[in-house]
């Protein structure tokens, strides 16, 4: 059973969650880094272009100055060359053409691969020129002297520094992303692990729970989160299971107890009858006695079955509108001979409330059981009062007897199966104490409630409340 906990590493929920998070992070980081790289390169290039533009302007100004002093374009170029000779990071080099395409000046500072550069286009433009493993940025501009001579200037710089910055950035990203991923893996596992551990605890404890061990409960986590919800839900499920289970156990033991005694009596009667030779009437008497006991057993089994059918929701009520007061009167009439026999006085106070939508047979059964009990427990010359009080939305039926009453601590148990207020009396009058159980099921099925209270003087009052609007 325990081996199920040691699931395959990659099947583990925390591992899978962390892997998902990490993958998402990797994709996001790659997109983000690519974007940054592109922006950086773009900006760096723009910077280089501005530099070239500025320097070209400077050169043109110098040439104009020299020409104004009566010197040549070449001398202007030389003066500019002096200015830029000290540049280290962006070494500049340039050449000047006449508009006809004739090279006028091309200072040879370093070995510059001019051969790779394009011819003049007589326009203003930027271009990147790859030369072997290096790259150069070129800017071309044309200008006209005061004398009206048109020249074209090509100025260029090597993109070495630019590439170095980009490379540096690239390298940093390559180092940062794995570190981020590692941190994400570690942190993710750590965070994902906590609820997983709690779930494992839950699994472990639930695995331990069997029919013999329904008492165990999960420890509640301190935080009121989803795991807490789960724990509380499981615990309350366990509560319900434990309750039903103990009810079932109690039920089985009650039933076997209730069956054992009458079966024992039956067996005894038959054994005694067979132990000696007898005349036919004696056998007949024994058989009749046995039959009566069996009838009681059958009644009990039928009652139990009815309760079971109510509990499993298999009973469908055949409802119709009927006057409850008429039903009560019929029932009182039915029991009148029994009441007369015990000289009990029945007081009725029945309002003719709105018709109730209910199952006639089942409600008659409720009345039958309530009156039966009331008559059973009310002594000779006692009194029973039945009242029916209706309001807009419900009808209250009260049956009040003047019997022995019930000990307060027993009242809760009165709706339990096989509850007997008085064991000795039940043996005499029959019935297995299922009457009130059945009443409760029927009343519940009608959406009502049933309640038992001791009277101030003597006896009990059973109150049945039935809603008028129950469908």
């Amino acid at each position: 059973m325990f081996s199920r906990l040691r699931t395959d590493f990659f099947q583990r929920l925390d591992v899978r969650l962390t892997a998902y998070y990490t993958c998402i992070l990797l994709v996001l980081a790659t997109i983000f880094a690519s974007f940054l790289y592109y922006r950086l390169e773009h900006n760096l290039m723009k910077q280089v272009d501005r530099l070239l533009h500025d320097e070209a302007y400077e050169l043109i100004v110098e040439i104009y100055d020299e020409i104004a002093e009566g010197k040549t374009v070449i001398e202007g170029c030389d003066r500019f060359l002096d200015d830029i000779s000290s540049r280290k990071y962006y070494p500049l080099f340039f050449r000047v053409f006449a508009s006809s395409g004739k090279l006028i000046c091309q200072p040879q500072i370093t070995a510059i691969p001019w051969d790779f550069f394009p011819e003049i286009k007589n326009s203003t433009y930027y271009a990147t020129i790859p030369v072997e493993k290096q790259r150069f940025r070129l800017y071309e501009e044309s200008f006209t002297t005061v004398a009206g001579e048109k020249y074209v200037l090509q100025i260029s710089t090597q993109l070495k520094q630019h590439e170095k910055t980009l490379e540096n950035f690239y390298g940093n990203i390559l180092r940062a992303i794995p570190i981020m991923l590692l941190l994400c893996l570690g942190g993710g596992m750590l965070i994902a692990r906590k609820p997983i551990l709690i779930i494992r605890d839950i699994t472990k404890v639930t695995n331990r729970i069997t029919s013999q061990n329904l008492r165990e409960r999960l420890p509640e986590p301190p935080a009121h989160d989803e795991v807490w919800d789960l724990t509380v839900t499981i615990n309350s499920m366990m509560d319900r299971l434990e309750k039903s289970f103990s009810e079932i156990k109690q039920f089985s033991s009650d039933v076997s107890h209730e069956l054992r005694n009458p079966l024992f009596a039956l067996k005894g009667s038959i054994e005694v009858a067979l132990s000696h030779k007898r005349e036919a009437p004696a056998y007949r008497e024994t058989l009749q006695e046995c039959l009566e006991r069996i009838n009681l057993l059958i009644t009990m089994v039928n009652d139990l079955f009815l309760i079971a059918r109510f509990d499993s929701g298999k009973i469908t009520l055949a409802c119709d509108y009927l006057q409850l007061d008429t039903l009560v009167r019929e029932m009182v009439d039915f029991f009148q001979p029994l009441v007369d026999e015990k000289n009990i006085k029945i007081k009725t106070d029945l309002c003719s409330a709105a018709p109730l939508y209910c199952d006639r047979i089942r409600l008659t059964q409720v009345l039958n059981n309530l009156l039966e009990n009331a008559i059973k427990f009310t002594p000779h010359n006692g009194e029973i009062s039945i009242s029916l009080v209706g309001s807009d939305d419900e009808i209250k039926l009260r049956v009040r007897d003047s019997g022995i009453g019930i000990a307060e601590e027993e009242i809760e148990k009165i709706f339990d199966r096989f509850y007997q207020a008085d064991q000795a009396r039940s043996a005499e009058t029959g019935g297995a104490g299922l009457g009130l159980q059945i009443c409760k099921r029927i009343v519940d099925a009608h959406g009502g409630s049933i309640e038992v209270k001791n009277n101030a003087d003597k006896g009990i009052t059973v109150t049945v409340t039935l809603p008028l609007n129950h469908k």
Partner: protein, 225 residues
């Protein structure tokens, strides 16, 4: 009268057969649905008692087969409590009546009589006379030896039910259902008390007692010599 019992519970089958034989019926018993269908469609019976839960073929399938062959023999279903809801289905298929197990034998007899009577005319005589006890169903009154008997409405119904079934035992459950329309068990002896009231009105002061208690079973109203 020939009766076919299709019931797989041998115990139940045996007591029904014994009881019915003693009542003068000729009884055949089979233990599964297939055999039941074969017997019902190949031999002549006056009544079929058919259990619902059967091996091979259930009771519903059997009755379907029987009716499909054009056999109109009356059928009484036997059913366990939890199949009660299916019974409407059974009536649709052409059953005549049903009984819920466990039932009293007297009740089975009463149902059989009722089903067999169904084809003929109901006992519609206005006056029923048993010995010197006379019931007038028109005026809903009774008299014994010319002396009128005061009866309440329910007492009249009870006496009428007993007299219509004179000579046959009626159980408390049957009386409760027939006279009051209640189809549940009561744990009290209320039926006995009602019977005693009627009995005291009918039998008191007469040497020949008509209403008899059959201990453990119920009551019977019987003519005496």
């Amino acid at each position: 009268m020939r009766v076919l019992i299709v019931e797989d519970d041998k115990g139940a089958s045996r007591f029904i057969k014994k009881g019915l034989t003693e009542e003068g019926f000729v009884v055949e018993t089979v233990f599964d649905g297939e055999e039941g269908l074969f017997m019902a469609t190949h031999q002549q019976f006056d009544l079929i008692i058919l259990d619902i839960m059967l091996p091979e073929m259930n009771g519903f399938e059997v009755i379907k087969g029987i009716r499909a062959k054009g056999v109109t023999t009356p059928v009484i279903f036997l059913t366990a409590k939890d199949q009660q809801d299916d019974l409407i289905h059974g009536f649709d298929l052409g059953a005549d009546d049903y009984l819920v197990k466990p039932f009293a034998f007297a009740e089975l007899l009463a149902r059989i009589r009722a089903v067999l009577r169904r084809g003929q005319k109901e006992n519609e005589s206005v006056k029923i006379t048993i010995n010197e006890l006379c019931l007038d169903r028109l005026s809903r009154s009774a008299e014994r030896d010319g002396t009128p008997i005061e009866l309440s409405a329910k007492e009249y119904l009870l006496l009428e039910y007993l007299m219509l079934n004179a000579g046959h035992v009626l159980t408390r459950t049957m009386i409760l259902e027939h006279v009051w329309g209640y189809n549940f068990d009561t744990n009290s002896n209320i039926i006995d008390v009602h019977i005693n009231r009627v009995r005291s009105k009918v039998d008191k002061g007469f040497p020949r007692k008509l209403i008899h208690t059959i201990k453990g079973v119920g009551y019977v109203l019987k003519a005496q010599d």
